[in-house]
Point group: C2
Chain length 110, copies 2
């Protein structure tokens, strides 16, 4: 029983950890408007292309994005359309951190 819950928590953590980085969130956000290749995402993030490639590989390994190779390029695409709503909810939390219970709850309208 508890073992099953811990296993589930571990799986969830794997996916959530994959999102838990500014560069990776930036990529996810950009991809929500449509697919982009690695070069596009690299200029967006502003890091070395190898770094961005590894970030994307991580997102892909947990299923948050999928790829499609066309010619020399690799296009990354969002696999989970629900992220938008969730991100807005995170924004609300971020701006009401450490506030009273009532205020935080009021802001969260998911």
């Amino acid at each position: 029983m508890s073992a099953a819950k811990q296993a589930r928590a571990a799986k969830r953590a794997t996916v959530i950890k994959a999102m838990a980085h500014p560069s990776r969130l930036l990529c996810l956000e950009a991809l929500m408007a449509g697919e982009l290749c690695v070069a596009d995402l690299t200029s967006l993030v502003g890091a070395d292309i190898s770094t961005v490639s590894k970030h994307l590989a991580l997102l892909r390994s947990v299923g948050l994005v999928t790829i499609e190779k066309r010619g020399l390029q690799v296009f990354y695409q969002i696999a989970c359309p629900c992220l938008g709503t969730f991100f807005e909810c995170m924004d609300d939390l971020a701006s009401s951190a450490r506030s009273s219970k009532r205020r935080a709850a009021a802001r969260c309208q998911c």
Copy 2:
């Protein structure tokens, strides 16, 4: 423009990173059924109480939970009711990782 997006991504990452650990997810999940004190959560997680206390402090620092002190105990409470839906979505992703785009998208119904 891009600076604003990066700032937003950083804030989001702070909140999401706070969730990105099995023990913290276990706590959040348990708290969704109602408030619990640190001792309760500690036996649930199965780690040292000091470790759990630090996990909870982190969740609180980003506004995911709030506290209420009563007597000697500190009761932790969920601040963001939307987490349930999101977690289910993560479960779907976790079980369809590395699958084709079509399958992954089909499973995500958020």
